[in-house]
Subunit: 232 residues, 2 copies
DNA sequence: CGTATCCGATACGTTCGCGTATCGGGAGGG
DNA sequence: CCCTCCCGATACGCGAACGTATCGGATACG
């Protein structure tokens, strides 16, 4: 928000290295939590990674939880931002392409997955945190859905229940990420993930009904997918 | 496996209370890990819950990891067993019914979900554990799939890629469980979960092709679902 | 260039949990 | 009924991490 020296005339004085220190601590926290786990990470470990002693830490944060939350919100917001950007650059594409862009933006990041998985589990125990995580999930759904429904509509498909599609996509992302990471290098897991996404996309949409019966009225229902590239 | 006093004539002597002690420690471990998290659970906490001191613990296990793993494998095996039983009692049912039975057997258990989620994240850091978790997931898939494909076939639907269906179901279970737990009491989350399962079931199966064109050859493809009970 | 202030390093005492070594009560066998 | 051996409790020392209080070098400003 600030970053420079003075704010407007009555604020803090020196804020130059302080910002750098914060930054290094935030970055170190990501690595520490990813490598050591949410529950086993210590203040000392984070400081060591950042090249500080605990003095620096307690001067900037009051607890590990606070540092973690700051780091998580930052990374999470960055991810959401990247997602928006990636989707913005898919102007009039097929849904497949929009989906592929979204997946590329989100990715299946090992470190980040471990962190969020453990944090989510922790949040389930802590009402305040639970609400924060739930809100973030909702934001992700609300970013994703309009773009995909747009792409689907342009491809001639309606989405009757957008909320359902959103939940489904997030659930599928979470669930398949674990599988991909559990079997590193597995071609199958990745293919199954992609296949499931495609299925969901089509299962939660249907051919746009032409208002007063125009084109292709004889075809009664549903040609499942453009192609079915998986070998039987 | 034994539970009584002697094994065959050359084994340990007293094994009566020892077994009880083990049991109480295993049960206490479940509660402790669920409430305090995987990384923050201490030996003392488990012992206190079980009504012992650390002496009992170190007499039965050599590390907390060992106790955790024993507990996890037991509960996990029990879950798998319940699943098999529940599915065995769905003799010639519709796939919907088999699915419902499976979901009821597995359920969305808060405690258990937190434990497995954190443990899985931990296992991703530890090759040995990673393989154990992956194997367990595979066992679950292999239990689930044949029953469901059987039910689907009896309902006149083929499953072209059973492995894909298995992964999809497990992924959907994991992914939607988090959502259901993140929004406690949310009718929507539960409904979305069920809906997604149904979609997956049908997306990964197709009407059995009558060998030499028998019934309903005119219908070109796919009547999506029997009913679509969700309100728009 | 001086000086006031900031901020991270250092030093300190404390608490928590660990793992081991030893003890004593009670369960089983003769 | 004794007596042996098991097994969980107790006692002990240790190391890790914590949070605070204080110090000294760096930094911004006049």
């Amino acid at each position: 928000m600030d970053g420079t020296t003075q704010l407007d005339g009555k604020a803090r004085r020196t804020t130059a290295r302080r910002a750098q220190t914060r930054r290094r601590l935030l970055d170190a926290a990501l690595r520490a939590f990813a490598e050591e786990g949410f529950g086993r990470t210590t203040v000392e470990s984070v400081c060591a990674r950042a090249g500080f002693t605990r003095g620096a830490f307690y001067s900037n944060f009051s607890s590990l939880d606070e540092l973690f939350l700051a780091m998580w919100e930052e990374r999470s917001a960055r991810m959401l931002h990247d997602l928006r950007e990636a989707l913005a650059q898919v102007p009039a594409a097929a849904p497949e392409e929009a989906l592929r862009a979204a997946l590329a933006a989100v990715g299946v990041d090992d470190e980040w997955h471990r962190i969020t998985a453990e944090f989510t589990a922790h949040a389930l125990r802590t009402p305040g945190l639970r609400r924060i995580v739930a809100a973030r999930e909702q934001a992700i759904r609300e970013t994703l859905v309009p773009v995909l429904t747009g792409a689907l509509r342009r491809a001639g498909r309606d989405v009757p229940d957008e909320a359902a599609l959103g939940s489904a996509l997030v659930a599928v992302h979470d669930g398949t990420s674990v599988q991909v990471l559990l079997e590193p290098g597995s071609e199958d897991a990745l293919r199954h993930r992609e296949e499931l996404f495609r299925h969901v996309l089509y299962a939660y949409s249907r051919p746009t009904p032409r208002d007063a019966g125009a084109l292709e009225p004889p075809a009664p229902e549903e040609t499942p997918h453009p192609e079915e590239p998986h070998r039987a």
